[in-house]
Symmetry: C2
Subunit: 453 residues, 2 copies
C-alpha cells in the first residue's frame, strides 16, 4: 500500500494528530507533509520526525487535529507569506537579517527531492510573525549559495555588507543566514575581519529547509532575534539548537565551535569553551549568560580587515603520509600551512632515530616548508590543547619551526593564519598566531594551578 492509499484507508490527512501502529511499535504524533510516496512522516513529541514505511503500518487512529499555524517546528505554508507585508512598530529595535543562502533559505524541489537555495527572503520573514513582534526587521539577500562553496572572497563580501548595513540602517544587531557546512569557518573569518565591532553578528543556519515540516529555521531565527534584543553582547556568534528537541537554542563562540554531526539539529558544539548564552524557546528568556562575555562599549569602532592570504592550506596528518604531499606546498610557494596533527600535536617524523626513512623525509619536508612559510600545529583530536614539549616528536617539530595552535580548532587556526598573513607581516603572524585575539585561544590559568591530568 502506498502512502495515499494508506491515508485514504484510515481517513487521515496532513496535520492530523494520530496514533500509528506497526507490528511491534506504536508512534504518537502529528502527520507532516511527505515528500515521497513510501513513508508516513510523523512529528513526535520529542521534536523529532520519524518516517514509517507505509507498508509496515497496520492501523492509524486519529486523535485530533493540529491547527495550521505558523510555528517554529511546523512547516511554512507552501504559499508562505504571500500578501503579507513586513511590519514596522515604533520603539522596537532594528535587526537586520542578511541572507547568504544555505538550507535556511532553501526549499525542496519536489521533482528531484533535492534542496536548492531559492526561498524568497520576504517570505522567510513574514512566515515568522514572532520576529516582527520583537524587532523591526530589515532584510537583504546578499547571495544564494551553499556554504560549502564559500571561499575567502565571499567572507570579504559578507564583511563589507555588514559594514554597509551598520552605516545605513544602524541596527541593534545583525543576523546572518548561512549554510551550516562551513558556518564555523565563516564565523571565525568574520570574528577576525570585523575588528572592534560594537554590535552582535549572529550566524543562523538550519539543518532542514524552511518549507519542510521539521525545519529548525524559524526557532533558530526567533532565538537569535530574542538574544540580540535582550542582551548587550557584541561580537560574532552562532545560534543553533542546543539539543535535538525544540526546547533551547544556544549562542556559541564564532571562533570556538564546530559542526559535529552531519544531520542533527544540535550539530554545533563548543570546543574547549562553554556556550555564550542559552535561550529558552518557550519562555523566550535568556536562561544562561556566560560570565565576562564581550559587551557593548563606548567609543569602539569597526575597522574592517578583510584581506586573507590565498596561499594558505590545511593538511590532515595521517599514518603513511608521504613527504611529497608536504613538499607540494613548499614548491607551490604556500605562505601558511596548518598541520592537523595527532594527539598533543604530532606527525610521523621518525623521532628517536629508530624509524623509517619515510618518516625522516617528512621531518625534512616540514623543516624546508617552515623556512618559507608559517607552519602551525593543531590537533585532529579537537578537544584539549597542543603541547609539543611532552614527547620527542613534538620537540623535533618545534625545532623544525612549527608553531603550536594552543587550544584552537584546526578550522579556526586555518582561518586565522590566512587572515594574519593577509593583514600582517610574516614576523607579526608568527607572533600573533598563538596569542588570543578574538576569544579563539583559552588562556592557561597559571594562578590557580593547572590540570596535569
Amino acid at each position: 500500500m502506498n502512502l495515499d492509499e494508506l491515508k485514504e484507508k484510515f481517513s487521515v490527512k496532513e496535520l492530523d494528530e494520530v496514533k500509528v501502529f506497526t507490528e511491534n511499535e506504536e508512534f504518537i504524533g502529528t502527520i507532516l507533509p511527505s515528500t515521497g510516496k513510501k513513508a508516513l512522516t510523523i512529528k513526535m513529541k520529542s521534536g523529532y520526525n520519524i518516517g514509517i514505511l507505509a507498508e509496515s503500518v497496520i492501523k492509524i487512529e486519529k486523535t485530533g487535529e493540529t491547527e495550521k499555524k505558523v510555528f517554529g517546528n511546523l512547516p511554512f505554508s507552501q504559499k508562505g507569506g504571500e500578501g503579507k507585508k513586513i511590519m514596522k512598530i515604533d520603539g522596537l529595535p532594528t535587526i537586520s537579517i542578511l541572507n547568504t543562502g544555505g538550507t535556511i533559505a532553501s526549499r525542496v524541489d519536489y521533482r528531484t527531492g533535492a534542496v536548492s537555495p531559492a526561498i524568497e527572503q520576504e517570505k522567510l520573514i513574514t512566515n515568522i510573525p514572532e520576529l516582527m513582534e520583537t524587532a523591526n526587521i530589515e532584510t537583504k539577500m546578499i547571495s544564494e549559495m551553499f556554504s560549502e562553496d564559500m571561499n575567502f572572497t565571499h567572507y570579504k563580501k559578507i564583511a563589507e555588507e555588514i559594514e554597509n548595513e551598520i552605516k545605513e540602517k544602524k541596527p541593534k544587531g545583525i543576523i546572518l543566514g548561512h549554510g551550516t557546512d562551513t558556518m564555523h569557518y565563516t564565523s571565525a573569518a568574520l570574528s577576525f575581519m570585523l575588528e572592534g565591532i560594537n554590535i552582535p553578528v549572529i550566524l543562523v543556519g538550519s539543518q532542514r529547509s524552511s518549507d519542510r515540516g521539521s525545519s529548525d529555521a524559524a526557532m533558530n531565527l526567533i532565538c537569535a532575534t530574542e538574544f540580540i534584543s535582550k542582551t548587550d553582547f557584541v561580537g560574532v556568534g552562532i545560534c543553533m539548537h542546543e539539543s535535538s528537541a525544540d526546547d533551547n537554542c544556544v549562542i556559541l563562540s564564532g571562533t570556538k565551535s564546530r559542526k559535529m554531526h552531519s544531520s542533527r539539529r544540535d550539530t554545533f558544539k563548543p570546543i574547549n569553551d562553554v556556550p555564550i548564552a542559552r535561550i529558552n524557546f518557550e519562555t523566550r528568556k535568556i536562561d544562561y549568560l556566560k560570565e565576562n562575555y564581550s559587551k557593548k562599549e563606548e567609543n569602539k569602532h569597526l575597522i574592517l580587515k578583510t584581506e586573507m592570504e590565498e596561499k594558505t592550506a590545511l593538511i590532515k596528518i595521517h599514518p603513511n603520509i608521504s613527504s611529497e604531499e608536504i613538499e607540494f606546498y613548499e614548491k607551490q610557494n604556500y605562505k601558511g600551512i596548518v598541520l592537523e596533527g595527532t594527539g598533543l600535536g604530532h606527525a610521523p617524523v621518525g623521532s628517536k632515530g629508530k624509524n623509517t626513512e619515510k618518516n625522516k623525509k617528512n621531518l625534512e619536508a616540514i623543516k624546508k616548508l617552515s623556512e618559507k612559510a608559517v607552519v602551525v600545529m593543531a590537533s585532529q583530536a579537537f578537544y584539549g590543547r597542543i603541547n609539543m614539549n611532552v614527547y620527542s616528536t613534538g620537540k623535533d617539530l618545534l625545532t623544525a619551526g612549527v608553531i603550536p595552535a594552543e587550544d584552537m580548532t584546526p578550522e579556526t587556526a586555518f582561518i586565522k593564519l590566512a587572515w594574519l598573513l593577509g593583514n600582517y607581516s610574516e614576523e607579526e603572524t608568527k607572533r600573533l598566531i598563538g596569542k588570543n585575539l578574538r576569544g579563539e585561544i583559552t588562556e592557561r590559568s597559571d594562578i590557580r594551578g593547572f590540570e596535569t591530568e
Copy 2:
C-alpha cells in the same frame, strides 16, 4: 619558594595525604612525584592530578600517608619489578601482551622532561601483580616507537606477530600495547587484516607514562586482562578509561572509535556506535556487554590479508581549497583518496552554476581524479551519516564518481580504502567500500522506519 623548600617547610613528602591551602582555594589529595621544581602535584579524589604553583601555596597540612603499593593510579617504583619474576599458575588462561611502544611503555627522561618509549617489558608486567593473578602472561616487545610514526609496513608487522603468537602460544587473547595518537588507525587496520580472527585482540594505551604518578597504564591493562578472561568476545577492540575518574574502562570497536582529546584519559570515544563492554575497575566485573557482539565460533580461522595500497591519501576539504591540491594526487597516480568533506558529504564544487570559477575547477579535478582512482567521501563532522542525495552539491559529486563512506569515520575509511586496494581489484574495492565488513558501517534500519530528523 621552590618545591623542595616548600616540602621541607611543611615537613611533607611524596605519597603523603595532605590539605594544600592557597589564597582562595583548598585542595585535598596525595602528593605525587614531581618532574619539575615549580609545581606541587596532587592526586585528587576525582582521579585527576592538579599542579599547584609552589609560590602560591600558603600552608600544607599532612593528614595521613598512602601506602606505596602498586595500584592502577599510583606510580610504578622507579626500580619497578626488579628481582620479581613473571609467575605462571596452572589453570589460568594465557594472555599475550605484545608491546609496540608508546606512552604505555614509556618513562619520563627526568633530564629533559620528555617521554621516551623505553620501559622494560618485564618491569611493566611485574609491576602489576593483578595481571598475573588473572592470567598467565606472555610478553614480547615487538617495537619501541611512538604511534604517530607508524605506517602501513608496521601494521603488517604487527599482524604477522599476532599470527605467530597465536600459533606458538595459543593465547585466549592478545593485548597490544600501543601509543594513543594513531591507535584508532591501527585498530582499524588490524580489524581488516586479521580476517576471521577467533580470539580478542585488545589495543591498550595510556595518556601518562607508566612511571608517572597519574599513569592510566596499569588500570587499562588490568581491565583488558579481565575482559579477555571473562568474555567470549573475538575481534579487535580498544580498552581505555571511560571517564577521567579511575572507575571504569570501556572496550570500544576497532573500526568505530576516535581519539577525541589531546590529553584526557577518557580520550577514546565511540563514533556512531555504542561501547562493546564496560569493566568496573573496583569489582573487576563486566558491567555491560553490547548485544550481538562478535563471539568465538567453531571452525573459524585467521586469514592474514596484510597488503595496503601505499598510494592512498586522506584530504581534508576546507574553504578556499584549490584544484591544484586535488590535481596533485591525480598527477602522482594515487589509487585511492578519501575526501574528508563537510556536512553530509560536500566539497566546494560550485553547484547551481552560480559560483566561482575556482569551485568549478575543483569539480573538474575531482572528476578527473575519480577516473583514475577510487574517491570516497567521509565527513569532518564525524557523527552522523554521509547522504549525498539531499543537496545538489552531493548529487554533483556522486555524478563525478565519488562514493559515500556511509557512517564510517574518515580515519577508518582511509585505512579500509588502502586495505581494499591492496587486496582486491579496483572494481571490488568500489563495491566493498560502502559495505559493512568489520562493523565499520552501521546498517540503516529499514524495517522499523528511519529517523528523518
